[in-house]
């Protein structure tokens, strides 16, 4: 008597699980479409002629053309801008990480008087919204003679990336037992060696996470490079895109091609290191 009822129950519940599965998958699929579609839409637009776009902005496949890319390349000096973006992003990335490493080490592992205040000071800088200080910041950079130079932008990037880096690395170092450092010190290791050959390898996940966050925003930032580099030949790819879309005689397909060119390097990095980025790197941010 009870048997059929319970098996019926089991069927109902397994059906419910199935149904839930389908609903969940359905929701995830819709979300994935929502996240991917804008990019696909832009890629398609970038391969339309101006006339084809005007006639049918939503259409998928009209006559595809690469003319927009050719014209964008001609207008934008892509290789030079790419180089500029690489230099400034790499410089900012390295400098901010190294500075953050030093600070994190000093405030967590060296018994430094006032170390906590320095730590507080650095992370408090996180709440200064960039727009608030943007004008005086540019003035300061110009006063320092760094206007239109790589190092001006690199230093600014480093300063803006510093609070989060210091926070992440300090929290990470804090979890590393002091005994490890004491032992190394007894072996005669200096601070630099302790930092770079003991703490650095342990905190690779944190540094990787930090690097991804910093790489993405430094590469994509528009405001800092725009004013620090101005319109000089050291401007970054993003400024180039803004320059393109600011011109009067452009069309949406042409702008789209510019957007895709600016995106391509980041997308390539993402594709190449997808596994590391997705499974490992962000893990460093959380312990």
């Amino acid at each position: 008597m009870t048997r059929p009822a319970s098996s019926q129950k089991a069927i109902v519940s397994s059906m419910r699980i199935m149904l839930t599965r389908w609903i969940v998958t359905g929701i995830l699929v819709i979300l994935a479409v929502v996240t991917l579609y804008p990019l696909i839409f832009t890629v398609i637009n970038s391969m339309k002629t101006r006339a084809a776009y005007s006639a049918d902005p939503l259409g998928f496949f009209t006559d595809l053309t690469f003319d927009n890319y050719i014209e964008t390349f001609q207008r934008m000096q892509v290789p030079r801008l790419l180089l500029n973006s690489l230099i400034t992003t790499a410089g900012g990335l390295v400098l901010s990480t190294v500075a953050a490493l030093f600070i994190a080490y000093a405030v967590t592992k060296l018994k430094m008087r006032g170390g906590n205040y320095i730590f507080l000071f650095i992370i408090a800088m996180l709440v200064i919204p960039s727009q608030v200080i943007i004008y005086p910041l540019y003035e300061t950079i110009l006063d320092l003679g760094f206007g239109g130079t790589y190092q001006g932008l690199i230093l600014a990037y480093a300063a803006f990336g510093l609070p989060l880096g210091t926070y992440l690395l300090s929290a990470y170092f804090r979890a590393i037992p002091d005994e490890l450092i004491e032992a190394a010190r007894l072996d005669g290791a200096g601070d630099i060696r302790i930092l770079f050959s003991i703490l650095l390898p342990i905190s690779t996940p944190a540094i990787a996470a930090l690097s991804i966050l910093n790489f993405v925003w430094m590469w994509n930032d528009l405001l800092l490079p725009l004013v620090i580099m101005g319109g000089s030949d050291k401007k970054t790819l993003m400024v180039g895109v803004a320059l393109l879309s600011g011109q009067y005689d452009v069309s949406i397909p042409l702008i789209s091609a510019g957007l895709i060119i600016a995106l391509a390097p980041v997308i390539v990095v993402y594709m190449l290191f997808q596994r590391q980025i997705l499974s490992g790197a962000i893990a460093g941010a959380v312990r």
């Binding site: 969940v24 929701i27 995830l28 979300l31 994935a32 929502v34 996240t35 991917l36 804008p38 839409f41 832009t42 902005p57 939503l58 400098l95 500075a99 030093f102 000093a106 405030v107 060296l110 430094m112 170390g115 906590n116 000071f121 992370i123 408090a124 800088m125 996180l126 709440v127 200064i128 960039s130 727009q131 200080i133 004008y135 005086p136 003035e139 300061t140 230093l155 300063a159 803006f160 926070y167 929290a171 804090r174 993405v216 590469w219 994509n220 528009l222 895109v241 949406i252 702008i255 957007l259 600016a262 980041v266 993402y270 997808q274 980025i277 997705l278 962000i282 893990a283 941010a285 959380v286």
Partner: protein
Amino acid sequence: MAELANLASRPNRAEVARRPFIRRETLIALLFVLPGLALAILFKLVPLLRGIWLSFLETRGFEDPTFAGLANYRTMLSDPSVHDSFRNALIAFATLPVWIILPLVLAFLLFQKTPGWKFFRAAFFLPYIIAPIVVGIMFRQILAPDGPLNAVLRAIGLAPLAIEWLNGPTSALLALTAVALWSFFGLGVLTYLSGLSTVSEEVVEAAKLDGARFWQLLVYIIMPLLKSVIGYWAVLCTSGILIWMFPLIYALTKGGPGTATVLPEFLVFTTTFQFLDRGLGAAIGMALFVFVALVSAFVVRRMYIEGSQRK
């Protein structure tokens, strides 16, 4: 450069010989914090102080400024668009729970190894790496009255929802927030997934056997376990939300219609660069600084407790 290094190291070598250990430690620690400190002071603190000073000046276009006391602050307080901008910022901050919960729910769904979860994880993260200015220009087409979004809504029989998204005061602000969320939720999903990977599956399975539903699992089991991860993500969202939205406003609405999507940051920007009233722009900037500091004080406190030296 080498000379400079010698100059710095020679006298302290003598000093060290006289008074060992503590002085040496302090000196090294100081040198370690120096580069970062210099960066923070030169490119953050000094500009902030200059901004404060500027807010007390009257600036007529590009003529030499004169001291104006609190005049800029008085102008600011009587300006309705300033009120609107802070109201909009509050509304943006009010969406924070969505920013924090949505990625958590999605991460938990993926964590249960839903078929294809690796693909979803990769897809969700993709928007994050796209530059905000690019996102803004892209969504200008997508949110257009006859753009793809409304085309889909009409196709699935939701024509009444196919509104002019950027025309309505509320819908414009919410659309902007949604676009910002589109950009950043993937980072949250990934962050939570990393946290979840430290949760043992047995705990989840045991709770399931006890008959815990999805929401019960999430609220009573997962959330307490992920407290520090949720805290970290909240830090990122709180400190980032206004900064993230600025380029979107710039590319999508320019603060319109009217002042519906003007945020304080955008107002600082237009007042300074478009209206050439740098003094007033700095004053609004200071108000924003105080506002953000208040909102994110708990965030900084959290970070401080986590990272500072335990006594």
